[in-house]
Symmetry: C2
Subunit: 198 residues, 2 copies
Amino acid sequence: MGYYSRQISKLIEELSGLPGIGSKSAQRLAFHILNMPLEHVEQLSDAIIDARRNVRYCRQCYTLTDEELCPICSSSQRDQKLIMVVEDTRDLAAYEKTQKYQGVYHVLHGAISPMLGIGPNDIKLKELMQRLQGEVDEVIIATNSSLEGETTAMYISKLIKPTGIKVSRIASGVPVGGDLEYIDEMTLLRALEGRVEL
Amino acid sequence: MGYYSRQISKLIEELSGLPGIGSKSAQRLAFHILNMPLEHVEQLSDAIIDARRNVRYCRQCYTLTDEELCPICSSSQRDQKLIMVVEDTRDLAAYEKTQKYQGVYHVLHGAISPMLGIGPNDIKLKELMQRLQGEVDEVIIATNSSLEGETTAMYISKLIKPTGIKVSRIASGVPVGGDLEYIDEMTLLRALEGRVEL
C-alpha cells in the first residue's frame, strides 16, 4: 500500500486484520478515523487497550469481565443455586437480554469438538464440576444446538447425573414466529420429537 | 448493555460508533479483540492513535499523509508538471493502484455541492490555483462522475482556462468488461457522446 503514507498504511493493515473487515472496509474505517476529532479517537484507542488489558475470567463463572467476581455472580438478586452453562460470554449476554433468567451462569469458553481436537480438558468443565461441590439445585445446559453443542451437553449431563443434581437442556424446536416452510428438516424433526401435550 | 462488564461495554459502544459496524458486529469485534494477544492489541490501539495524531495535509497536494511533503510530491520519479485533481485521498489511491500514472495529484477534500451547501471555498481550490502559478503543463480533472463531481470539474476548468494551462477530464463511458444490458442509461449516453473514431 505504497500509495498511502506509512502510518495510514499501518492503520489500514491493522484494521483489515479484524474479522469481517476486508481491505475496502479497512480503508473506509481508516479515513473515518482520520477525520474524527482527536478526542474521540483517543477514547476509541483507550477503550480497545483498556478492555484487553483488564479483561479476565470471573473467578466463579469464567465469563469475561474486568472484576474479580462478575456483576452477576456478585448479585444478591440472582439465584446462585441455578447455573446455566453456556459456550461463551456472548451466549450469556443473549440470555441476559431476555431479562427473565434469574440464575447465574458458567461459561465453558468453547465446546467439545473431536473434529477440531477440542476435548473436555480444553473447556472450563473441571471448573464447573468444582462449583457443583457447593450448593446447587439445577444445571441448565444451554450450549448451542450444533453438533459440538449437543456433544458437549450430552457429556456434561453424564458427568453430573451421578451427583444427583438436576440437569436440564434448553428446548430445541421451531423459532417463535418461524414459518415452517423455511425451517430446515433437522429443526422440524426436533420440534416433532419435543412436542408437548396441550 | 448491563450484561457486559463496564470496560467491555465501553469497547462495544466505541466500536459500534464506527461506520458500517452495527451492534452485532461490534460485539463480535470486541470479543475478537479480547481474545487477541495483548501485543497485537497494543499495535492496533497505537496504529489508531498514531495515525490520527500525526496525520496532516501534504503542503503541496493536500493528500492525507504523516510527512510535510507526501511521498508522491517529494518523488523525483514523478512528473511534477502534470497534476491530477481528485476529490479525496482514496481516489488518489485508486489511481496509484493502476501503477501507470506518473504525474502528481491535488486533493480537493470534497466537491462543490449547492445541495449540501459546499461551495468553491470549502474545498482546496484556492490551493490548486496557487499551485498553478508554478510550472504546470496539464491539469487532469478526475473528480467523480456524479452530479457534484461534474459540477466541480466544470467549475475548475472555467477557472483554469484563462491561464492557458491545458485542462482535461478523465473519460466517462462503459466500464471495461461491462455488459451493456446492465449499464444505466446515463452511462450509455455518455459512452455514445464520447465515442472515438476507429
